[in-house]
Amino acid sequence: MINKKVKNVEEALQGVQSNMTFMLGGFGLCGIPENTITELVKRDVRDVTCISNNAGVDDFGLGLLLQNKQIKKMISSYVGENDEFERQMLSGELEVELTPQGTLAEKCRAAQAGFPAFYTPAGYGTEVAEGKETREFDGKMYVLETAFKADFAFVKAWKGDAAGNLVFKGTARNFNPNMCGAAKITIAEVEELVPVGTLDPNDVHIPGIFVQRIFQAENYEKRIEQRTVRK
């Protein structure tokens, strides 16, 4: 068993630098690597490009990095719910590349799986396809999209072990598994680091080979964006 366990978030984030490209798991505030984001805010890491489906809210998630003006460019599918984001985007401080959500997921998976490019129907005939190769297969038009290239992938799992195996919970899974192994180095923070051998090999969502470092996270706020209940 190859040991991926590191002591804490400080040790996990060794080598993280300004001007790098990061992938961050999560959908809205669900399943985001909270501990990693908190540590990135502490560090003087600037002008980074973040690949993340969303951009957090003003005072939580990636919003914290935005407030701190650490982000140069966001690659996302949906960036509402964030005033500071809007201000920086409209003022031109922040570069934004909007990508269809399924394409975003697959650009991660392509990087993980060694595919340089793939054809998808999403965005054909729209400004998303501008400047991209398009092509017909069986009478339908597709857009050629390329794999992401990133330095670090930061993901959050429910459980994990020192071998780097990960298990996710509910919809906190989302982009996290697709980002594992999609960057040069993948760092996983987990709610519960369990002893090696306790995860059922059939139920591992992401085998440890895709993860370089794993650490037991400290605590999770798990903020809910839209608390909706029935009467």
Partner: protein, 219 residues
């Protein structure tokens, strides 16, 4: 009388067939789930990674790790499953989801849809909408017939940046049910008490009125 949003959702619910997988967009589409017949089998998919969504949780039972694409806390029904984003869009792109219901800013008579961007305004992004409209076999748009200024949203050609081309099959508005085919809007039903003339007046795209147009039946 024009329908309110609940009325639109109620009418669209009639389009949901037994044994189908349905993806509901944010807004009116989300409300459709409340009106689907309870004697048919339907499963709701949400692109953030859940199939078999149930109703909202009771107070105190919210789980931050279980949300829908609108970031609302949800519950799941027996037989539900969670999966990653790549597999979620495999369901969508691979045409395994039978019906997509979503909102729109504009729909053109050739089935083009615009629902993600207003130039000059803050752009929030397309989310999963472009993937959904590019692949779904059956797409129903839920929207008001006109915008806040009273201007038509059913057009000859979309003026806003497109979300997808030639993909919308049906539109249900506060005034009418329309089928989109052969580069025309075909009027199928009127909202109760709304005349064909009223609908024609606020429809900028080609409107085909074939014979007597029945009123919607909302049970």
């Amino acid at each position: 009388m024009a329908l309110n949003k609940n009325g639109i959702a109620q009418r669209i619910a009639q389009e949901v067939q037994d044994g189908s997988y349905v993806n509901l967009g944010i807004g009116i589409p989300t409300m459709v789930a409340n009106y689907v017949r309870t004697d048919i089998e339907v499963e709701f998919q949400s692109e953030n990674g859940v199939l078999g969504m149930g109703p909202f949780p009771f107070e105190g039972e919210e789980d931050a790790d279980i949300i829908n694409a609108g970031k609302q806390t949800i519950t799941t029904l027996p037989g539900a499953s969670f999966f990653d984003s790549s597999l979620s869009f495999a369901m969508i792109r691979g045409k395994h989801v039978d019906l997509t219901i979503l909102g729109a800013m504009e729909v053109a008579e050739n089935g083009d849809i615009a629902n993600w961007k207003i130039p000059g305004k803050m752009v929030k992004g397309m989310g999963g909408a472009m993937d959904l409209v590019a692949s779904a076999e059956n797409i129903i748009v839920a929207m008001m017939h006109t915008n806040k200024l009273g201007e038509p949203k059913l057009l000859k050609q979309c003026s806003l940046p497109l979300t997808g081309v030639g993909c919308v099959k049906k539109v249900v508005t506060n005034l009418a049910v329309l089928e989109v085919k052969n580069n025309q809007f075909h009027l199928l039903e009127r909202a109760p008490g709304v005349s064909v003339e009223e609908i024609q007046k606020v429809t900028a795209g080609t409107l085909i009125v074939n014979g007597e147009i029945p009123e919607m039946i909302l049970s």
